[in-house]
Amino acid sequence: MRTAHKLTWMAGAIAAIAGWTLAISAIASAAGVGGAKLANNHPAGLAQLGPVVMQIQR
């Protein structure tokens, strides 16, 4: 039971990562490359949260 639950969780995580990657690609193509990046405009603490597999509710 525990193994099944773990597999389900892993499958969900993989699916989320795949979805996330697709979303990034879509955004990059929609907004266009060549814009000006705003340096240091994202939370440094995000990297310390460990694996982030959830896309936010839209």
Binding site: W20, A23, I24, I27, A28, A30, A31, G32, G34, G35, A36, K37, L38, A39, N40, N41, H42, P43, A44, G45, L46, Q48, L49, G50, V52, M54, Q55, I56, Q57, R58
Partner: protein, 417 residues
């Protein structure tokens, strides 16, 4: 989920602004103490109206709902769904528990490079914390029944009780703590007050930036309890509505009460908004007060956030407003962001107070007084010299040192120091 986005616009001709700020402090310059108004600052250093309009138009084109435009404070507030924000700024927002944030720096169209300096609101992984130290002191022996009367006598005749410089303290709920007269003693302000200098009067004022509203009756009680003059206090609500009272009310009351106790003749303007950034911004674009006091610290915010904030502090300096930022009592560890609680906590590594580190503000270090009680319950930790000009501990200007930097009040005959 709807994100509240704030697009921060920068200032142009930074070198020219730096030169002006230096000249405004140079007695031999023609610009010496020639302060700008917010409108003059906007014309000389802010974005042109058509530049701001272009950004607004672009945001609307991306589907964002522009809520307000602050041309004097160089911000545009907008509401956006996560998808709209991701599309407009070419980034991805993810969540982890109650935290969410953009995984990479946002992008804006190349034509806005240098014009837009920060996008705030893409994450919630930052917080603000009041700098006031909350500490329970142990209860001590009962005080004389007329201790308050003695306190007032102490202020009126400071030479009457040499040796008990900070008597009395205040008994609150059985605990002895500091009262306003103790602060006056510790900072050697009593000679100023007894000499007739109780702070600059209206139209000058002290501005306080707060993120909680406060109870009016609590303020009145402080004044009557210590026989201070009535407060000349103005509540300023930048958004037009009160954010209500929250856990930071204690800091608001502390700031209000002790601004009044330190300079009883000086009016107090309290800028209250749920966003401390907006409160600070409003105290600067309002340009009513010669001094602005900020007793908070941020944690977790990206450096671009402080870049935007620093342009406001530069504007304040050009307007002759002295900005004072408390560094708190957390030592060199400062504040760090705790993602599990979405709050600030004392850090374990070096964390400078970014806001206090701005070259355009005066950082005010945290002060911890350590009372020592005598048999009568008086605090004898400060022993002063004799006579009216007695010297206690405190912050004093040493010979040859300049006045407070960028101090508009310094140009006036009566100063609040």
């Amino acid at each position: 989920m709807t994100l509240k986005i704030t697009v921060v616009l920068g200032i142009h001709d930074q070198a020219k602004l730096d030169r002006l700020l230096a000249d405004q402090q140079n007695p031999s310059s023609a610009e010496y103490h020639h302060w700008l108004t917010p409108a003059q600052f906007a014309r000389r250093f802010g974005p042109a109206p058509e530049q701001t309009d272009a950004v607004v138009q672009w945001l609307r084109g991306q589907g964002l709902q522009v809520m307000s435009i602050n041309r004097l404070g160089r911000t545009i507030d907008a509401a956006a769904s996560v998808a709209q924000a991701e599309g407009a700024f070419a980034t991805t927002i993810v969540e982890h528990g109650a935290s969410y944030g953009n995984t990479a720096d946002p992008s804006v169209p190349a034509k806005f490079a240098g014009l837009i300096v920060a996008i705030n609101g893409l994450d919630n992984m930052h917080a603000v914390m009041p700098a006031g130290l909350r500490r329970q002191l142990p209860a001590t022996s009962a005080r004389s029944p007329n201790w308050l009367t003695l306190a007032l006598a102490d202020v009126a005749h400071p030479e009457a009780d040499e040796g008990f410089a900070s008597a009395p303290d205040v008994n609150v709920g059985g605990s002895i703590t500091f009262g306003p007269f103790d602060i006056e003693t510790y900072y050697n302000e009593t000679p100023l007050i007894t000499g007739g200098n109780s702070g600059t009067a209206s139209p000058d004022c002290v501005a306080l930036a707060e993120d909680s509203d406060y109870l009016d009756s609590a303020v009145s009680l402080f004044a009557t309890g210590f026989s201070f003059p009535s407060f000349n206090i103005t509540r300023v609500l930048p958004s037009g509505t009160s954010p209500g009272i929250n856990g930071d009310e204690t800091e608001a009351l502390l700031d209000i009460d002790y601004a009044h106790a330190t300079a009883p003749a000086t009016p107090v303007n309290v800028y209250v908004n749920s966003s401390l950034y907006t409160s600070i911004q409003s105290s600067i674009t309002d340009n009513k007060c010669g001094a602005i006091s900020i007793s908070f610290g941020y944690c977790g915010a990206s450096s671009s956030f402080y870049t935007g904030l620093d342009t406001l502090f530069a504007q304040a300096a050009s307007q002759g407003q002295s900005v004072f930022v408390s560094t708190g009592d957390w030592g060199a560890a400062g504040l760090a962001y705790n993602s599990s609680t979405n709050t600030c906590a004392a850090g374990t590594t070096l964390n400078p107070s970014e806001m206090a580190a701005s070259p355009h503000v005066t950082a005010v270090g945290g002060t911890t007084f350590t009372p020592q009680w005598d048999a009568s319950g008086n605090d004898i930790s400060v022993v002063c010299g004799a006579g009216r000009n007695r010297k206690c501990v405190g912050i004093e200007r040493r010979r040859g040192e300049p006045d407070f930097p960028q101090a508009r009040v310094a140009s006036r005959s009566r100063r609040t120091e």
